[in-house]
Symmetry: C2
Subunit: 417 residues, 2 copies
Amino acid sequence: MTDLLTIGRNAKQASQQLSQLSSSQKNTLLQAIAQQLKQHQDSILAANEQDMKAAKSQGLTHAMLDRLLLNHERLQGIINDIDNVIALADPIGNETENRLLANGLELKKRSIPLGVLGVIYEARPNVTVDISVLALKAGNAAILRGGRETRLTNLALLHAIECALTEQGVAKAAIQLISDPNRALVGELLRLDQYVDMIIPRGGPKLQQLCLEQATIPVITGGIGICHLYLDKHADFDKSLAVIVNAKVQRPTVCNALDTLLIHSDIDTNTMASMLAELERQQVQLKVCERVAQRLPAYAQHKATAVDFDQEWLSLVLGVKLVDDVDAAIEHISQHSSGHSEAILSDDNDTINRFVDSVQSAAVYVNASTRFTDGAEFGLGAEVAVSTQKLHARGPMGLEALTSYKWIANGNYTPRS
Amino acid sequence: MTDLLTIGRNAKQASQQLSQLSSSQKNTLLQAIAQQLKQHQDSILAANEQDMKAAKSQGLTHAMLDRLLLNHERLQGIINDIDNVIALADPIGNETENRLLANGLELKKRSIPLGVLGVIYEARPNVTVDISVLALKAGNAAILRGGRETRLTNLALLHAIECALTEQGVAKAAIQLISDPNRALVGELLRLDQYVDMIIPRGGPKLQQLCLEQATIPVITGGIGICHLYLDKHADFDKSLAVIVNAKVQRPTVCNALDTLLIHSDIDTNTMASMLAELERQQVQLKVCERVAQRLPAYAQHKATAVDFDQEWLSLVLGVKLVDDVDAAIEHISQHSSGHSEAILSDDNDTINRFVDSVQSAAVYVNASTRFTDGAEFGLGAEVAVSTQKLHARGPMGLEALTSYKWIANGNYTPRS
């Protein structure tokens, strides 16, 4: 039987050891993890094949199967990302804000590990490694709860990680996996505030809400991207089309893929028609607003319903809506966005500035694809999650999001006057 | 009847106006608040007198009465603190981390307001002004829920603030007070996630736990200080005594006052006796550990019970415990501290470093009083709260803790490759 109190206590204890490792000790540990993953790659891929087989027989969606799949190339990509994290500066022990206060104290802030992370995620095996590596680099322990569909893959990945921890003399409890599928364990994890410092739910709206409702530990919500792209009338339409196609088609199953295209209503009907035709050639299924259907009767059978503009599609579906100006686009986004990623395509500076100033999502793109919202693309090495809330961390969460700090004040037997 | 949905909606709307104010508009608004508080000071102090009278007749503790009291000097102090906030740099609109990414995008982070703050606090009228001023300076709206004992004072303070908002053309809903004493409103506020971005509970353990259990909005816990001071054997005992007395006696009713004194067991009994005697001369009531009672039989009647070392006293009580070395002090702190403020008095660098490296509380003092954990003392202008959690903000929370950020990426019709 899985005993979460023991898991929590052991994680806390391991986190104390981790907080005292030097930068080079931590990097050596990460190198060892990369090496063990390479050495165990056959068993990892074999485990994933079993998970995939079971998942297919259970009729998982294409999006879920794509997330679950680990092949040689993807595993190599995951291992290569570890090198990126090794190359990053150690986020711990930095002293900033050195100040001599009016009261005579020398005050500074020193970055410290958060402690123990609790991460609950869907069936994406890359997350198991990404989070372990980032957690350890920032001196944290982690308790992982992966999707049940990826159980065997995760056990195989964890075995490799544990080999590296043991080899380097670090407590195995530094990274622990709750592999027992009993759902009640999630609720227990969310209330393990005695030992866990932060909960990161990576999954759909139901999981996020469950965590917000039940957790007594701070929760970082995110990962749900209802992403918008606004095509202004002042834009290069050929180049724009390439960006729109990229945002929608390149990897439609992930959170930074485009969900809704907002088109300035002054753009002429032929231009619009040829753009939508190209999207259809790329297998995109359009859900258009009333006004698009009026101007292009060929789409009368593809009209969007009321809820379609509140969907994170995670597939090749795309909502298309006409708006009369940038303010209408901003208003639509403020009502329908999940605060993840939005883009504007425009050559007009005033319009661009209005959009950038008014859209308060975690990532705002000017003449670029929404697909860039990603820790590696942002130069953060890898990412633990993409936060769509406003506290602590926003957008792709890298190492810094896994740290806290303490204030240190030096005096000379100084009382407060 | 108080309609929290309307309060929330109006706050959100006001926050949009506030996010667009320039630095000078915000500073002019704060000046107007200072002026209106001065103009209304008679009615404010009269309201406080009524609150004090009622509180005394209800038998509130001395600590609560002291927190509730507003006199001319304290009100002037609160108004003067507004000038400090005006003098601070605007935390909004700063662009940092300008980077040209490998993918060709120009990426930067821009600081933005959090949005709407929900603050639940005990009967401390200064909090009403401090929070309003800091919230506005950072472009945020705030919904305040003050202690019922300070209801009339808060209404008077809010009236002055509203006069300033109106005078400056800012929506009155920028700062709202839930003055209806119905307790169910707190629960409703904690679930107003559609409109409120952050909850700050300033109050005792019960309020903090209530917020953690019930809120669907991120909560910043804090303000509970079980503060320790470790007196090492290598220390100047005369100077140390002055710091200990300051930490305990200067203002015993606040969260950064000393709760437990840890004394190195090598310090000789006479020195210890004379220090404890001086504390008693200062009206401090000692609760000593078994070993102190053995060495100083005069304190046999003052022995601490099991729970006494887990108390935030908020009064002139002080726990006293012998420890055999700095590691024992660190261990005691890690088990009993609330993560607020701890201090070491020592002249030995190795001992100091061991303490500073291992104690992970929000504020760690070397040869200084714990009483310095305070936004104004830290040069933050004023403070919204003292956070004892590890996410988002730690220790005294000033303006920066009231901001979020967004990532802005500029491309040239850039798809992700």
